[in-house]
């Protein structure tokens, strides 16, 4: 077998099943949704197949821009916190002896095998004005603080929901690091932090990117946490899209908002792919 034939065969064997799946179940359905962007909402919902560009001009409404800015802020903050907490956690998991590693990993995801709503309720019970944390604080003469129904509660909820999506990719990259590299660096007199900055971090950058992406993007699209923990007082991009599709039954404009989000995501994804390759 010639190497080039082997490569082509390899590309076929490895890429075609997943790509077929993506084409049929992602691209075609997505194309169907996005084709609505040039049509109009029917009087009572539904789609009228008359061409219009109005959906696109509506995008430039300052209202939507303010929601985008707000969402970027909240999702960015959630990502940063998840990274700062998740990185050391993933790192320490890789340092555990073999059988504990699996236990620690499973323990990261286990809370999420319970239902989302009762987890959110649990947070409300912890954070509300009459809740556990405030009662505890009061007992030692502090508070009560407004911990719930504000942006802080949204960020807490987002970090909580997506932390495993940060830890697992980080674990997968950190795990493959050769400990000898760090030792070499230490032997050469580098401090722990220098070793981290010059050796560990650059080598685990793909994991950092993947994890951050997995926290950042779903945070933008989340609509339940802003409603239940944020008290419905702030909107994320996800709330906007949901509102257009479900409440307004304006599928054409909902699709247009989705298209705008997808365009922005593609830029992010290409940057991510670029970093993954460079590392």
């Amino acid at each position: 077998m010639s190497p080039s034939r082997g490569r082509r065969l390899g590309a076929f064997v490895f890429l075609s099943p997943g790509l077929t799946y993506l084409i049929v179940l992602l691209l075609v359905p997505l194309a169907m949704v996005l084709s609505y962007t040039v049509f109009q909402r029917g009087r009572f919902g539904g789609v009228v197949y008359e061409f219009t560009t109005e959906n696109f001009s509506r995008l430039f409404d300052p209202l939507y821009l303010s929601v985008v800015v707000e969402s970027l802020k909240l999702a960015g903050l959630a990502t940063l916190i998840a990274l700062l907490v998740g990185y050391p956690t993933a790192y320490l998991i890789t340092r555990l002896p073999g059988r504990w590693k699996t236990v620690a990993l499973v323990m990261i995801v286990l809370p999420f095998w319970t239902n989302f709503i009762i987890r959110v309720y649990a947070w409300i019970i912890l954070l509300n004005g009459e809740g556990l944390i405030n009662s505890g604080l009061e007992a030692i003469g502090l508070g009560p603080y407004e911990l719930l129904y504000n942006q802080g509660a949204i960020v807490t909820g987002l970090v909580y929901s997506y932390l495993p999506l940060m830890v697992l990719p980080l674990y997968a990259t950190i795990e493959k690091l050769d400990p000898q590299l760090r030792e070499a660096s230490a032997n050469l007199g580098a401090s722990g932090f220098t070793t981290f900055r010059k050796v560990t971090l650059p080598l685990t950058l793909p994991g950092v990117m993947t994890g951050s992406l997995f926290v950042f993007v779903p945070s933008l699209g989340n609509f339940v946490i802003p409603e239940m923990l944020g008290g419905g007082k702030s909107a994320m991009v996800g709330n906007l899209i949901r509102k257009e599709f479900l409440s307004a039954r304006d599928w054409p404009f909902g699709s247009t908002l989705a298209l705008a989000l997808i365009a922005a995501l593609l830029v992010l994804l290409v940057v991510q792919a670029w970093v993954a390759r460079r590392a």
């Binding site: 239902n115 009762i118 996800g238």
Partner: protein, 259 residues
């Protein structure tokens, strides 16, 4: 290493953060009140209610079937895709495409699939949700495995090919063992995400086979009862037991191997 002592703080913080609400949630399963939202007193009645509630138990079975199916599809296809992207392609477009399902808003995927399944006149059932969940779960597996692959030493694989092994043999004998931690992490993610997914499941499931999250969301109008907390508590207990048992077994296995 002394410096890593400092890392123990965020490590334990993570677990406290993850489990504080879980403790609350389990305590609420013993609530005598009607709601999972306010604690009113101790009672075991919700465990009894749970045992009688066919709809919830059927929902649980459907959910487990869907999550298992989706995880299988996602793990196999996602791993292949990741290897294909890392070793046999240079296209950033393909790479971005493979990540799309993980990052698109679930509602957009859900409505797309609803329209698509409608177009091809597919009768919805459990398998349509398996296909739908397999889609986004595959993206997560591919990304995690891909992350592990990037920068790994390819010399072994090249050596294998130089010795005349085809791509499949090379993959099974050389690449796969290196990838194992990534595949495990990806599969765990896939299973976890499918288990609690609501939006896509709602729009792609058949009328007979609703999954547990759909049953629970529909309770919102009359209040989600602590019955769901009781179910969660039992599931957690079973999972913890399985994990600890697994840990003990590997320990025995390891010590035998040393003898």
């Amino acid at each position: 290493m002394r410096s890593s002592r400092l890392l123990h703080v965020p490590f334990w913080l993570t677990y406290v953060f993850l489990y504080a609400p879980i403790v609350v949630l389990v305590v609420m399963s013993f609530n005598s009140g009607e709601s999972a939202y306010t604690y009113e007193g101790f009672s075991l009645k919700w465990y009894g209610e749970l045992a009688k509630d066919e709809r919830v138990l059927k929902g649980l079975v459907n959910t487990l079937i869907v999550a298992t199916g989706a995880t299988l599809i996602a793990t196999v296809l996602g791993t292949l895709l990741a290897v294909g992207l890392a070793r046999y392609s240079r296209s950033k477009t393909l790479e971005a495409l493979s990540l799309m399902p993980a990052v698109l808003p679930d509602l957009v995927i859900a409505i797309g699939l609803l329209l698509f399944f409608g177009m091809i006149q597919l009768t919805l059932g459990r398998y349509s949700v398996v296909l739908a969940h397999g889609l986004f779960a595959m993206a997560f597996v591919a990304a995690v495995v891909r992350t592990r692959l990037s920068g790994t030493d390819t010399s072994l694989e090249e050596a294998s090919r130089d010795l005349g092994a085809g791509p499949v043999t090379t993959f099974v004998k050389v690449t796969l063992p290196q990838l194992a931690p990534g595949i495990v992490a990806g599969a765990l993610l896939a299973f976890t995400l499918s288990l609690d997914e609501f939006v896509i499941a709602f729009f792609t499931i058949g009328n007979m086979e609703q999954t547990l999250p759909i049953v629970i969301y529909s309770m919102i109008r009359f209040g989600v009862t602590p019955e769901i907390n009781a179910l969660a508590a039992i599931l957690l207990l079973v999972s913890f037991t399985a994990v600890i048992a697994g840990q003990r077994l590997t320990k025995i296995g390891e010590s035998r191997a040393q003898d």
